[in-house]
Symmetry: C2
Subunit: 429 residues, 2 copies
Amino acid sequence: MNAAMPQQRPAPFERAAIIAVGSELLTPLRIDTNSLYITEQLNTLGIEVVFKGVVGDDRAELAHLVRSALERAGLIVLCGGLGPTDDDVTREVVADVLQRKLHERQEITERLRQRFAARGWQMPEINRRQAMVPEGADPIDNPNGTAPGLWIEHGDRVVLLLPGPPRELKPMLRGLVESRLQSRAAMTTLRRRIIRITGRTESHTEEAVQPLYAAWAAAAVPISATILAAFGQIELHLSARAETPEAAESALDRAAEQVRAVLGRDAYSTDGRALEEVVGDLLLARGWRIGVAESCTGGLITSRLTDVAGSSRYVDRSVVSYSNDAKTEMLGVPAALIAEHGAVSEPVAVAMAEGIRVSARLEVGIGVTGIAGPGGGTPEKPVGTVCVAVITPEASRVRTVRFMGEREQDKFQASQAALDMVRRMIATS
Amino acid sequence: MNAAMPQQRPAPFERAAIIAVGSELLTPLRIDTNSLYITEQLNTLGIEVVFKGVVGDDRAELAHLVRSALERAGLIVLCGGLGPTDDDVTREVVADVLQRKLHERQEITERLRQRFAARGWQMPEINRRQAMVPEGADPIDNPNGTAPGLWIEHGDRVVLLLPGPPRELKPMLRGLVESRLQSRAAMTTLRRRIIRITGRTESHTEEAVQPLYAAWAAAAVPISATILAAFGQIELHLSARAETPEAAESALDRAAEQVRAVLGRDAYSTDGRALEEVVGDLLLARGWRIGVAESCTGGLITSRLTDVAGSSRYVDRSVVSYSNDAKTEMLGVPAALIAEHGAVSEPVAVAMAEGIRVSARLEVGIGVTGIAGPGGGTPEKPVGTVCVAVITPEASRVRTVRFMGEREQDKFQASQAALDMVRRMIATS
């Protein structure tokens, strides 16, 4: 305490709790994913999430949880339950726990009426509930929906109510992170970095990276690391807490550089880019265009490539040749080749890659053929067998891999294998 | 209380809380999904989940949460934090909260040593922590890993500790559901059903279905309902609690039938099937094969169709014609047509659908062309504009829609619009 200080800066937030409200989130069918985005945003301000909870549209349970969170965190973020109907209880429960009355704000009601009127509708009276604001709370404008957010200061705590739909929640939270949340955050920042790795198991990755850990822990800006196995890749998650974003980022840059030195080309991304983005950037750098002849992946490889904005600069065309006729007619794969080796074979994969590449006058062709399952396997070629071929102006490669997952998992892993083969063949450094 | 009862059956569980333990689950990068499986299994016994929580490897937070859960639920399921290392705190914290001492069980240590020995390794001494069992607790064998589960009775409560890895957790829980959990569950079962809907907003669905609610609530087997908006569709979730699974299922059957009568063809699935499965079944019933000419969806429609096992019976081939040349060369779309109307236009979508259908001698052709964004929009054709055409032996249809999401969301919505158009055109009832 310093009595000479002209004005007291409120205690900074260091610990946050996130509460998701909605009975559907307690069924086997839905999961709260908003908390991931909220965590990411709070972490940029150095605010750590110490607890996440999910409750249904149940006043008693929600009240219990809000009370409990108020004991343990400086910032409590609630999402969901701000709709106009009876089972939207968040506003009322929070007002009750904080012992504040709710009052209708005429300017919000008016804005809601205009919102409905702009669509030629009359506002249902029930929507007036969304204009109810606890005493002393600040409503937060919601350009993408009817439910305003609410910012409520309670002693040195802040309770923040956000609407559940991601397209309403995200811009609202982003705005707060750049304004009121930032000014209440601690003077440190927590930054994370994902390094994505192919061609190694979890333990081979650990073996290679572990010697770096001791120096990371002892550094001026300490780095902590976790290794996680995901489908078709390994992820190394690094985090750094520092006084400025720049200090945290540059410590992460250095650590990522060390990892790259140790793992070489197996570390395909140190900046969060997905494999399809890395491949796209490599194609752009070469000025090459790509075409894909897909069988068992059913269009997934091309769909992933075209998930990237600007991919029309290098994706020209693709063919999903599910039937043998399609392979012959659209890609020029000789029927005799299919008869001799089978549709799932390395020669057919190569002919597919060459077929799309030559017919479309492209630099890079991919051919993928396999047995997606659950039916169609044989003792020699069991379900999950996939042949992948890639042809570039410089080289041609083909390999057979076998996946052991379920249909959709195998499709993803096959797409991962194909994109990774392209990456390794055209990477220049 | 009935003193004449020969033995007291313990109070049945009706309410469960699930606690996931692990610091990685409080980052933006990982989410607890075990709770979905746990919920599904508990629901089959009529046990409802009233609360889910996530905490890091933090003794104080976990202890707080366990205490709080003990006040509110008959069954507390914890998962994760049973490993051998220092940051695996679940065993110790639970023993502490329940005020029980931990003792090493020699038979568990012995089993762990054998497990390691079978792989030619010596057990690290640290693994003895996994043989520590709170007084009065029953260890549960884990054939797929080193961490045994723990079943702890505490008054009329049960605290259940499960390992975090799904391949260890799932068989362990399944075993309990068939034995100890079943015998402690209420004599009811809770079953759920999802009805999937297109062509209506959330509120139009509510309007149509609401008149059914009163009768559902008053029925011998009451049905409760929730409406949820998902991308490109609306979901109506029904749940029924009954004394037998058969009674619950037949009440859900009746309710689903009523919904179908009210919503007509807008309710595309009352049995959990995804849209691509419904379309596949309709194609099979007609004996028709399908081909897709995709531009902005980049292969996603075909990838969704081929996510379904057995789809090779009706998916023949598809083309991703990202460039104008590809549309002309592979689908025979006249260059003049593109020049006159633009690549994103209804005539081009129709020509694409007809191109794939005729060249491949298929019954059904889809053509989709649009502006995926974020670049490429114009005032007349803004980002998100998509033209969808479907041609069958019976009819031809084309429409222009506009989506307002981000690139991947628009791709999904466009694929949804195309598949739904096919469904409506070939549905016979």
